[in-house]
Symmetry: C2
Subunit: 467 residues, 2 copies
Amino acid sequence: MVENFDEWFHDILEQANITDSRYPIKGMAIWMPYGFQIRKHTMAIIKKLLDKDHEEVLFPMLIPETELAKEGIHVKGFEDEVYWITKGGQTELNEQLALRPTSETAIYPMYALWIRTHIDLPIKYYQIVNTFRYETKHTRPLIRVREITTFKEAHTAHATKEESDEQIQDFIEIYKEFFDDLGIPYLISKRPEWDKFPGADYTMAFDAIMPNGKTLQVGTIHNLGQTFAKTFDITFEDKEGEHKLVYQTCAGLSDRVIATVIGIHGDDKGLRLPPKVSPNQVTIIPILFKKGKEEVLAKCDEIKEQLESKGLRVQLDDRDIRPGKKFNDWELKGTPVKLELGPRDLENNITIAMQRDVEEKIELPLDDNLADSVIELLDKTTENLSSSAWNFQEEHVKFTEDIDEIPELVEAGNVVKFYWCGDEAIGKEIEEKTGYDILGIQEEVSEGKCIASDNDAKYIALIAKTY
Amino acid sequence: MVENFDEWFHDILEQANITDSRYPIKGMAIWMPYGFQIRKHTMAIIKKLLDKDHEEVLFPMLIPETELAKEGIHVKGFEDEVYWITKGGQTELNEQLALRPTSETAIYPMYALWIRTHIDLPIKYYQIVNTFRYETKHTRPLIRVREITTFKEAHTAHATKEESDEQIQDFIEIYKEFFDDLGIPYLISKRPEWDKFPGADYTMAFDAIMPNGKTLQVGTIHNLGQTFAKTFDITFEDKEGEHKLVYQTCAGLSDRVIATVIGIHGDDKGLRLPPKVSPNQVTIIPILFKKGKEEVLAKCDEIKEQLESKGLRVQLDDRDIRPGKKFNDWELKGTPVKLELGPRDLENNITIAMQRDVEEKIELPLDDNLADSVIELLDKTTENLSSSAWNFQEEHVKFTEDIDEIPELVEAGNVVKFYWCGDEAIGKEIEEKTGYDILGIQEEVSEGKCIASDNDAKYIALIAKTY
């Protein structure tokens, strides 16, 4: 799988009924029923986290050209990627309409209307929507697409710079909790100046290391300062009656989150889904013979009900096919726990439980404690998936003080940490010399020498091969 | 409100924080936080109903022109309403892409790939998505829009015509249950030939009578026969090894459902939300004086927790404003039950409960039964809203055998039932003469004379002023 991760990833999406890429537009795929359920449970986690302190809204998908063009730096960052509507019916439109590539220019003109005084602040809204990018690069389902079907974007406005900086920290904490729930490890860094969001003061990013060592940007958090406030004239009257510009932040997540759940936890046999997002947390597979068939099925129904009453998502696979085929199917689809029940098990009043992440089979008594035992196995699965993923990340982040070592380390599937003085010209020189991208600054340091200059190091930075 | 329903409706949407129509594209509005919650709870009901027997999926939003154009009758029905993308970035696209007006032509080419044999049937998929219509008529938020933000479309394929007809009945039952949950009355009719869905064999529709007597089409169910199966070559191998075309149905609901919840239940004071979809089912309003303030607030928190533990959605309005203002706010926003608690109530160990739909205040003891008492009030509210809406509908459907009476009855705010022979030319003559639309056929009859010809009546049909 590591050797040919991209192929593995492509194949598993169709085999496990996650997406179908045969839709007749490049870079746009269909969420199939099983994939849709994974997506739904994943989004439920982030919604729950955001709903504590943010409000969900929904903005129109189209943006008039005049609004999109107002913020110069921003539009420059997106102008090659925007889809344009020029016709309604048989009529040429007076003004072309953009399919949102992201919603700053849809939302902020309204913030200018809604925000009047300090009492209206902070505003913390989010939406989960589809956005569009006319990608000219090679597209990959969930990773590089033309329709981002699942774009969570949060947009906040504050009275002071301090509050906006605190909001950035809040988003970091929310994202940490989100990825922890998924068992997905992350590297947090401050993106270099030349790679920040168009219009932002600074950008914080979450990257995940995929099994082939390439990193995937899975979450971004931007402090927008007053750039958009100036452009869209978003002001408020403070307590003293003075009119001031707001400070803004925004933060995004996308389909890529689900790409990491699939790619990072998966193995040669298929998916290994974290229980929190698995469509079925438990799949019951009856072993049926002519004799005792009804008794076994009745017991399976009973077990299903017993587990569901504890809030578990349970599937009873009673298809008329060989049990071996069922085991393979659910292995591929990554059900965290499978329960097998045949006539002899029924006689012995046990069921055979198998965790997806470990090979062993264990016997569980069919008694009142069954649900608790299953929940324990699910919790173990969650822990195992998370710890093995974090171990992988730890093993694949290497430090070097020698710039010539970087290519070898990266080609071996690592992200590389190095000392950097922070100078933009030197940074770009490092990228050019190695051929990789600087992800960003991970921490400040007061020791060491820059890897590519005589300057003192100011930061530990990360460099990697990226998606 | 009845006198000027359209104005009332327009105003309440903004006052109650449901939508904001000041977005700079005509016919596209923003779902504000309170409205978004109503939408969310409404969609949760239909999802739950569909999930029993259908699977949720998500198709791309764009449709290549070649696919959209394949089904001739269908495309003719939509060609004046389709938004076209002609540019990606600075590049002219080789093929223009349509913003889906509905998804038949996006979904059915994939059905042709997915359906191989009778084992693959039936397929029952649905999605909830945004769709687009370039409306040239006067737009109204939630009622006639250019971005339908909430389009629930279900698409099924079957081996036989009988199964497809049964599916139509299933959809009717699902929609009945859905609208019953919302307390929204409906008229079900079979649309006349000239008003059926472009490409359908026949269309069944749900219409709701708004307070001004105009009807709003709120749900449609189409038997597509084999029209699309022929166009997109959707075939299956039956048990005998013969290749056959599938039979298809589709069924839609939209934002208009929420328009009925607002418009039909609302009154001069604002919204009256059915508990199932109200963002807060209970709003607690503390009456605070300097003395005993903390004790009252502590008790309010306790009540909130007590009610939430029973699964209720509860808001404690502890804003620093006059209680009278809070009562007005929540009256406007339609919270089904308000609980008032002041220091004297605390002394007497009671809270004052007010249902939104009736004027009286009642005292509820602050004991372990409080949640049950509140749930009883919520259930009463649900019943009251539903029965008063159904009474309104009953009073506003009138039968006549005299075509000259129709205008007077319709202008007085009624839907009119009449005998019809079913002949298309006669039907169109009735529409032309009265100036209203025939909604469709409600039932077959074997008595009576057609209202506009010498023919025997075959049907009872409905005619109305429509949105």
